[in-house]
């Protein structure tokens, strides 16, 4: 492994910015976030970076590394070509606050617009429910989400078409799926998904699924089943005919 490497880090704020090169020593086992921390401690104390757990569990240190949306804490330098500068940029789909930190507050607002969990009445006299592991597992996959927003970052509806006002993005389709498929939930979100959250904007390019650090099968397991529910409710030709009659 190389003993030092160049990190080309985007620095700036909403008014603009540019890349700045930092050369720093690298050791075995280091991840990109370690290198960023080293630069921060030794060369650029005011370099802005958001991070927390450094173990891939909190989803705070999302960035674009050599053009790929990734968690900085889970990207090992040994998997990158250190002959070339390692390019580190903030996520593109969200407004920049400073350097590598973006304003992701929109995501938290979107979550509030999704109808909350509404359980059926308890099954047993102890006030609890009975559920089978197999039924729970389907939703547990979605609940692995660490809200890193990399799927939102890579979604072209948000990133390229800036439809933040109309479309909730893959993270919240997964969230809605987790609620819709929850064994205890009794709420109905199908109409909202079509009319308010515009699930139809998603044309299943699977980019979101490919960048998910938790390997959630976003497209196939969450979005497509929701789309099917919308289609069943609103576009079933027989039902439409029946409605006309």
């Amino acid at each position: 492994m190389a003993t030092q490497a160049t990190f080309r880090i985007w620095r700036g704020d909403p008014s603009g910015g540019k890349f700045q090169d930092f050369v720093t020593p690298v050791d075995e086992g280091m991840v990109v976030l370690d290198a960023v921390h080293r630069v921060q401690a030794e060369q650029a104390p005011d370099l802005a970076v958001r991070w927390n757990c450094k173990a891939g569990k909190c989803g705070s240190c999302s960035a674009e590394i050599n053009g790929m949306p990734k968690l900085m804490c889970m990207t090992r330098l040994s998997n990158l070509n250190l002959e070339m500068p390692v390019i580190i940029e903030p996520m593109h789909a969200f407004p920049v606050i400073r350097d590598l930190v973006t304003d992701v507050s929109w995501n938290f607002e979107v979550k509030k617009t999704i109808r909350k969990f509404k359980p059926r009445s308890p099954d047993a006299p102890d006030g609890a429910w009975r559920m089978q592991q197999a039924d729970v597992e389907r939703v547990q996959e979605f609940r692995k989400c660490i809200e890193c927003f990399l799927c939102q970052d890579v979604c072209h509806v948000l990133r390229d078409h800036h439809k933040q006002d109309e479309f909730i993005g893959p993270r919240y389709l997964v969230y809605a799926a987790a609620l819709e498929m929850h064994p205890l939930d009794t709420e109905d979100r199908v109409s909202d998904l079509k009319k308010k959250h515009n699930i139809g904007y998603c044309n299943i390019t699977t980019c979101c699924r490919q960048v998910c650090p938790e390997s959630i099968t976003i497209t196939e397991n969450a979005i497509i089943p929701l789309k099917e529910r919308v289609v069943d409710r609103f576009f079933d030709p027989l039902k439409q005919l029946f409605n006309i009659i």
């Binding site: 704020d13 050791d27 075995e28 086992g29 280091m30 991840v31 370690d34 921060q40 401690a41 030794e42 104390p45 005011d46 370099l47 802005a48 958001r50 991070w51 927390n52 757990c53 450094k54 173990a55 891939g56 569990k57 909190c58 989803g59 705070s60 889970m74 090992r76 606050i97 400073r98 930190v101 304003d103 992701v104 507050s105 938290f108 979550k111 509030k112 909350k116 969990f117 359980p119 308890p122 102890d126 006030g127 609890a128 429910w129 009975r130 559920m131 089978q132 592991q133 729970v136 939703v139 547990q140 609940r143 692995k144 989400c145 660490i146 809200e147 609620l179 929850h182 205890l184 939930d185």
Partner: protein, 604 residues
Amino acid sequence: MPEFRRYSYDVLIIGAGGAGLRAAIEAAANGASVGVVCKSLLGKAHTVMAEGGVAAALANVDDRDNWRVHFADTMRGGQYLNNWRMAELHAKEAPECVRELEAWGALFDRTKDGRILQRNFGGHRYPRLAHVGDRTGLEMIRTLQDHGIHTGMQVHMECTVLNLLLDSGRIAGACGYDREKGLFLVWQAKAVVLATGGIGRAFKITSNSWEYTGDGHALAYRAGAELKDMEFVQFHPTGMVWPISVRGILVTEGVRGEGGVLRNSEGRRFMFDEIPDLYKDQTADNEEEGWRYTQGDKNARRPPELLTRDHVARCINREVKAGRGTPHGGVFLDIAWIKERMPKSEEHIKRKLPSMYHQFKQLADLDITKEPMEVGPTTHYMMGGVSVDGDSQMSTVPGLFAAGEVAAGLHGANRLGGNSLSDLLVFGRRAGRYAAEFAKGNPAATINEAELQASAASALAPFERGPAGENPYKIQYDLQESMQDQVGIVRTESEMERALEILEQLRARAERAGIAGHRQYNNGWHTAMDLDNLLLVSETIARAALLRKESRGAQFREDFPNKDADWGKCNIIVKRGADGAMLVEKRPLQALPPELKAVIEEMK
């Protein structure tokens, strides 16, 4: 003069991990207007890292379990220095708090008959930890977050509190700054709940993230509240040791709960070599029995790998010091060996410990289904904290409450795994309820404007000193190095005296810390701001550890290696004296009521 953006609430919650969110939900449910200050984004607090599970005597897996057993286990684990009232309430209320999470959408793993599944954990007599694979904390914080956002609470993300504000001895609110823009804020409040978590960043090797700089401990101390049990810092026995950049990251106790074993470089299961008297009757004396226990045999006793964390951490330390460690200075934790005992063990491990599989595969190029892990102790949890009333969680400052890791009492000298997640539910709920009640009974107090301006001026000082001042990252690093070496797992008087001298020098350096740039999302500034709190809690830890001249629970003194009966009857209180000097004093425990004493006797 810097401007302050102003907010006013009945109840202000500082911290948005499990305890903070649970308190916020409860305060809102009791009719209070609620503001929540969180240091990071919502849902990223350290609760997210909790892996193994939440302890509650639901008795779903073993019907011999009940609150009395859980209470006795918690007291034994804490070496009887616990606040018995908290241990009692905790054991009684945890099951209901776990069921409440299910009603809010949490999906725990299930038993065959569809109830919440529970697993074995160190120091718990029966399988007691409700869990979701090894990502229980994520499930809990997300459930609380998703439920909480519909209760009307106002969340202030990425804000750090600088000071608590008082009005003639009563809480009046808090002031701080927001990281994103660097603005100063003041939150007026009738009651304040501290839920700021721990102090892990005072040490070099830790499982804690950058946030855990003892903020709540320091805020409470400066506001005049009493701190308790500060000498008891939990070193979790199993953190990653290699590669160096991931050193300290937690490896869940669940690995041992599922049958993982500890071995030294000679291949010996060294945990069988020393079993404390307190646990002799409950611990297996052969490998066969230990294995049967992990597989649910109710007649088997637990393997010594599942002894309490303080003990396991010390045994690992002993092996490494004796030259029987791994190449990178740890010991081996082996779950792959279970292939000798069960078919399809690889799938079993991946299903039971998915995050661990993922973590080692990605960060260390190691497949835990095939090879043993290398692990060593890592600073994990603070048993000590704000001294509170067991029922209401109010500190000695009227209107100031504390819940979760920042509060002291439940865990005594050593915490059992799984008891922190139940702690934050039970006492988050209580703190929220009593804070709302306090707010109803007391009018808003007045904010002292001069105090606000003084806070802002001191916060801005590092900018005035500029980049020519001391590098705050370097000061923090030196502090961590000193605490790790001199106030770590094994302590002696001379080393701790030395640490206190170093802390004094570091404090002088911190006063010279300088930074470049401006207030907007400036990590250097944030690091400089956290130094004060880190230095203060480090001093409280060192002073309390010096005073307790015995070894008990998480405190191990090389110069006093045994328990001392007299010290077993006392807590240590740390508070600020009238002259500003730090007072450290011995205080006798509250007498245990006869009915609880009987429970402990019965479970012995």
